[in-house]
Symmetry: C2
Subunit: 456 residues, 2 copies
Amino acid sequence: MKQKIVFLKEEEIPRQWYNIAADMPTPLQPPLHPGTGKPTVPDDWAPIFPMNIVEQEFSTERWIDIPEEVLEKLLIWRPTPLVRAYALEKELGTPAKIYYKNESVSPAGSHKPNTALAQVYYNKEAGIERMTTETGAGQWGSALSFACSLFKMPLKVYMVRISFDQKPYRKILMNTWGAECVPSPSADTNFGRQVLEETPDTPGSLGIAISEAIEDAVSAKVNTKYSLGSVLNHVMLHQTIIGLETLKQLEIFGDYPDVVIGCVGGGSNFAGLTFPFIRDKIYGKEVRVVGVEPTACPTLTKGPFLYDFGDTAATTPLLTMHTLGHTFVPPPLHAGGLRYHGCAPLVSQLVMDKLIEPLSINQVDCYNAGVQFARTEGIVPAPETNHAVAAAVAEARKAKEEGVEKTIVFNLSGHGLLDLSGYEKHLNGELEEYSLPDEEIQKALTVLEPYPKPKV
Amino acid sequence: MKQKIVFLKEEEIPRQWYNIAADMPTPLQPPLHPGTGKPTVPDDWAPIFPMNIVEQEFSTERWIDIPEEVLEKLLIWRPTPLVRAYALEKELGTPAKIYYKNESVSPAGSHKPNTALAQVYYNKEAGIERMTTETGAGQWGSALSFACSLFKMPLKVYMVRISFDQKPYRKILMNTWGAECVPSPSADTNFGRQVLEETPDTPGSLGIAISEAIEDAVSAKVNTKYSLGSVLNHVMLHQTIIGLETLKQLEIFGDYPDVVIGCVGGGSNFAGLTFPFIRDKIYGKEVRVVGVEPTACPTLTKGPFLYDFGDTAATTPLLTMHTLGHTFVPPPLHAGGLRYHGCAPLVSQLVMDKLIEPLSINQVDCYNAGVQFARTEGIVPAPETNHAVAAAVAEARKAKEEGVEKTIVFNLSGHGLLDLSGYEKHLNGELEEYSLPDEEIQKALTVLEPYPKPKV
């Protein structure tokens, strides 16, 4: 029997995260203060994040030790398996070899707990007594609830109201882990009350929820900090354990990829798998790295590289990102985790440096690939993950047309067991292909005209 | 750092299942024909199951090879990890060591795919072109849909109507894997139409659903067979891979259990973990084996050992079981998988021979233990699994009281991500403790008076 799956032993789990800031050909341009427009210093971030996390955000150390206390918790499900998709290959009739890194086996069903555990640990270490965050589709809120539970850290999650109402199971899951979860806008913050007064029937938005979570953190009586599940450097860092494990596992398979693929919203699962491979590429190895996003929210493929805010209310530092503008509201999309107006500065810079190829795929093609994967390899991918599956399938088909053997690795970033309604719509033929028109992008970007521009 | 998790390598996966029939001190008494009351021969089972499965059902071979084609599919997620629950131990302040076998990492979220894959493979081998089954809570229907998908076997699932209406996500999941799923009673069978005519508003029952699935199988134009997810010998057999892996993993931990625990409905996850340990026990090793059921459906603790039917309509062969009578309708219970009137003949006989200790726990204590587990070890267990968690916690508490070190192993048979509504009720204080009164059991058992009795 040919090798199908590689598990690493406990003692083979990576002990350090990889920080790509140490190897990037073009360093990141500094985040700018939202008030002054001048480069931020660590103290500017202190009201929101504890200093140990802020230091990590600014670090250019190549290797950063994973604390023992974090490792212990990661070992509940890590190292995750790397699996060869023989049945999918056969179905496609491709000469390509397809591998997937199965991050869906975590207790929250996705890669998100990798950074959630690290962030909660650092907050605990810094003496923080309570945390807040926002969640859209619910993956991040679930993962942070899981992590806070294990470190006995109280947590309040502001969940975009429309998701809160449509996905009651996400709230129960967070409650089971002991977290509080309220629909946003809520009556619990000044900003929430203001929004409710002006638009009582609003479905809410990620921007509003972020604003509420930050207001809560900076104004709470107990020592409270905020946590973000993607976009920032320290989040990308914590996810690199995915790619570092994958490198070891590919060695056991006796293989090395021609192309590495991940789906991209804020960028964290993508960065987690690919940054260790991009390091190889920087040092001369031949490997293609593909980041896949929806055609309905084409940040990397159509958004320019500009300074923009992380949130809709324009209160965070300005970051260099491929962006559609912070007031852009992406169309409803079943891959809720990919509905972000911007993208991680690290990922955005690496796209500028042509170390990452961006690609956009419409949701119908993504669900087709997801169903094909479920019916051959057996795992029902998260709607977000379907973008990576679709790109892997496209690469495998190209390999067949060209008659070349090729090794493809993609990140199976999560399962879809808590997000099945998109599959129902797809199977009923109710999903539509949709690409965001260029004129809408141009309109959305006018909001950025007054702000400083990065050097290109 | 102390060892937290043991993964086995692909080459360490067991290549044979363990058949406890070869080692039982008291052999099973023969199944009886429902019409004649005489011992059945393999041919009596042929209309429902393919002969290769019937042969396995009657086999007394100790070790049975796992076909390569089944192994290949099991390797999508197996071998599953064995994990030490340090955080739970600490929370309980117990000197006991607690290990759990994590079967929740399968694509369907439970242990059920272990037998689903084997059964579909044998049906395919026997030239069967289509399969049917029933499902109550949805775990088995999902698992068989998953397996049928991988072997390209058409499947129709009759799902108890009340679950079908209350759990729409289960149906979407089965559809995603390509299976058809209809509410039972349905208009697709004679029996279903008859029930609908008599009681149009019936919520359905497992008994009705089994009858429909069997009628469909025996009367379909294409070569169709029926599949059962628990109770029968071949199902227990396919699940023993769980315990065989666990034995190897405990060896790596350098440990051997004082007590092994599983929850019991039909008996398959319990048998899967414990039969290899019961073998050790038969050959002189000291180990306690505890089967845990709900006080609301106390088959093993309160049901007598009798001949009974597997289904409510009394059409299957009569099997020797601890039973509450085939017409007994268990009260609504969030652990839907434990609402079966009887228990596997193999498990029932081993209880008679005092190789298994039965135990019943009420659902409030079970959910308390499940929440404690979720908040320390991070995995939200399935409602059924909470019974095993509760028994493990009780053993660990006893160890603390007695001041003895003790090694406890339990089967984390599935996660609860698709069955969260029970957690919601529990967290809201809406669940009630309930024990089935003895007089109800006596009443339910009168249905068995006309039938033959087993030798005791």
